[in-house]
């Protein structure tokens, strides 16, 4: 006789650590689908992080490249002090409301002038990659440009046990970036927005209709001041300076390339890798404001780029079993 076993554990009935599914709650608390079992739920809110390690390569990028990567309208690249310093960063998140995950991103200093003449200053993210599905989706709701990739972050060895580093990222079988080296703790100049509470973060969210008849672009802005409810004055990136390590350009080996699936290595024209800054921090991510929207309509005759049942280079890579 065959063995058929169903274990109908409902963890939300066993512990308050697990919220009941949205379908059993007020509809006001449904944030994403599906209401039977969403990819992430209200137990990610408020979205906090503890003891994450941020490792930011500081790279020099010319104005033409930064302008191309920063959508105008509505954004303009920052043209002030250290405008050409771009953050190219990895993060090891161990404790978050979305669980642990590894992350990568690029941040460019940019500004937006609203119709009333107010100037908003922020780091804009053209590229982001993560190892977990829930933080990718939760971030995308806020506008972050997240994809999934395979990411490695290693610090080990030397007198301090963390003197050597290795970072790598691959997707669909291609290496996007790898860097190795040794922290020498020499001074590295950070991007201009570092530590400034009047500099927030920008993202460009795209919401397409189910029939693809239109897509709305939404410029979202995350302030850097802690939300009032937390009753703490200061930057919502709370750095623990005793853990900070740095490496100068001469202490960094570096390789980056574009792939058929990810164009960052072609678009990010890097003039110089000026250094690496690595620090431990706690973080709160509040909900963003939407500063600007524009809708792009498609005609009923709109067709995409593909030919039915013909599969090209971008549709061919090793099949995955998932993570």
């Amino acid at each position: 006789m065959p063995s058929h076993l169903n274990v109908p554990s409902k963890y939300w009935e066993l512990t308050k650590e697990v919220p009941p599914p949205p379908i059993e709650r007020d509809i006001n608390t449904w944030i994403i689908a599906n209401p039977s079992d969403p990819l992430w739920d209200i137990d990610v809110l408020p979205l906090t992080y503890t003891d994450s390690r941020w490792s930011a390569f500081v790279v020099r990028v010319d104005e033409a490249t930064r302008q191309r990567l920063t959508p105008n309208p509505p954004l303009t690249v920052w043209d002030g002090e250290n405008a050409d310093l771009v953050e190219y960063w990895y993060v090891d998140h161990q404790n978050t409301m979305l669980g642990p995950y590894l992350e990568f991103g690029v941040t460019i200093s940019a500004t937006y002038k609203d119709p009333k003449g107010n100037v908003w200053k922020a780091g804009y993210y053209p590229y982001m990659y993560l190892t977990g599905d829930a933080p990718v989706d939760a971030g995308r709701v806020l506008g972050f440009p997240k994809k999934m990739s395979y990411i490695r972050i290693t610090t080990h060895g030397g007198e301090k046990g963390t003197d050597f580093f290795g970072y790598a990222m691959t997707r669909n079988g291609y290496l996007l970036h790898s860097s190795t080296g040794q922290f020498d703790d020499k001074q590295v100049t950070p991007p201009y927005f570092y530590g400034k509470v009047d500099w927030g973060k920008f993202n460009m969210k795209v919401v397409s209709r189910p029939d693809l008849s239109s897509s709305e672009w939404q410029l979202t802005y995350l302030p850097s001041e802690l939300p009032e409810a937390f009753n703490i004055k200061g930057h919502r990136f709370q750095i623990k300076p005793e853990h900070t390590r740095t490496a100068s350009s001469d202490a960094i080996n570096w390789f980056q390339q574009a792939t058929p699936f990810d164009n960052m290595g072609a678009e990010m024209k890097i003039q110089e890798v000026t250094g690496l800054i690595s620090f431990v921090f706690d973080l709160i991510i509040p909900v963003p404001a939407v500063l600007w929207t524009e809708t792009y309509e498609r005609p009923a005759s709109y067709r995409g780029y593909a030919t039915p049942y013909k599969y090209g280079l971008r549709q061919q890579f090793p099949i995955s079993q998932g993570s």
Partner: protein, 324 residues
């Protein structure tokens, strides 16, 4: 130390193997973020599939349990569930593995029309692009999981499936095809007047508003693709097994995934496997409800966790996306 190189070339562009770079296009050709390099791009449209292998367990569950996981206005029609795995070898989103659950359901759209369709309460995939191409425009309830599903042995007589997420096994089953007929099939099988439905929720970035929609994919082939069902089965590829041929079956609820706790099987009817081509057209929206939130009154109910305190739902092994 200090050895550095950046390879900026993009040779596939000159040979037409890849579409123009997103930053060189008109904005109507950007269908998802990031706008510099979308997670799914316009080279997936039209979205076609060739020689995918569908392996669908047919099971029954308590219909009250099924109704308990389905939101208004969707009505469950019967207690027969399609519990399926797919190997997608050739798709506009690349190859990937997929698992899903389909209920026979209907919606009264309020304008006198009744829509009949398979409704998806749960779906899992192995890759990011098909997850977000399904979730964002259409509302498919997709998550990422480890999925193994295959047939092997003489004449591919044996089948095995396994799905895991965050260290917990959600489901596994294996057995041998007997090619005996099943006592019942899902109501929507082969019917072009039964489409597919999803419940999409699009939340505004500031969380003050969520738009709920039922999206509907018709089953008739879209204009220009001929007539018939858009799931085009190869009848020679069909294999079946009855419940007694399913050697083992294990399904469980987990702290991260509720399916096993919500719809335990009351009967395994069998399995139907087939190879097929598919086209997924754009979806129509047949029902909409907007939920507004007042930050002063409604946000409190959203704040389930305690800042900087992490519970069992936040504790699991660091995920490594294996599509690296």
């Amino acid at each position: 130390m200090g050895l550095q190189a950046n390879e900026y070339s993009y040779p596939w562009l000159a040979e037409g193997e890849v579409p123009p770079l997103p930053l060189d296009r008109d904005r109507i050709h950007i269908i998802s973020q990031g706008v510099a390099d979308p997670v799914f791009d316009y080279d997936i449209v039209p979205l076609t599939y060739t020689e995918s292998r569908w392996m669908a367990f047919v099971m029954r569950a308590d219909i009250n349990n099924m109704k308990g996981v389905v939101p208004t206005p969707i009505e469950v029609q019967d207690d027969v569930i399609e519990f399926w795995y797919v190997i997608h070898r050739n798709t506009m989103l690349g190859p990937y593995m997929e698992m899903g659950v389909t209920f026979s359901a209907s919606v009264d759209s309020g304008d006198g029309q009744i829509y009949k369709a398979g409704y998806y309460p749960y779906m899992y995939l192995s890759n990011d692009s098909p997850i977000f191409a399904g979730k964002e425009p259409f509302g498919f309830p997709k998550k990422a999981a480890y999925i193994a599903a295959f047939e092997h042995g003489t004449n591919n007589n044996y089948f095995n499936m396994l799905m895991e997420r965050r260290g917990y096994i959600l489901h596994t089953a294996n057995g041998r095809y007997s090619d005996k007929p099943l006592s019942t099939k899902p109501t929507f099988y082969g019917k072009t007047d039964w489409g597919r439905m999803n419940y999409r929720i699009t939340t505004h970035p500031d969380v003050t508003k969520s738009t709920h929609e039922v999206t509907y994919l018709p089953s008739e082939l879209p204009p220009g693709f001929g007539t018939g069902h858009r799931f085009m089965l190869n009848p020679e590829s069909i294999r079946t097994a009855t419940g007694d041929d399913i050697r083992s079956w294990y399904m469980s609820g987990t702290p991260f995934d509720y399916m096993g706790g919500q719809i335990p099987a009351t009967e395994l009817v069998g399995i139907i496997s087939f190879t097929f081509n598919l086209i997924i057209p754009p979806a129509a929206t047949i029902w909409t409800r907007v939920v507004e939130r007042d930050p002063a009154k409604d946000f409190g109910a959203l704040l389930y966790s305690t800042p900087f305190k992490y519970t069992m739902r936040h504790r699991f092994m660091v995920p490594q996306y294996s599509q690296g």
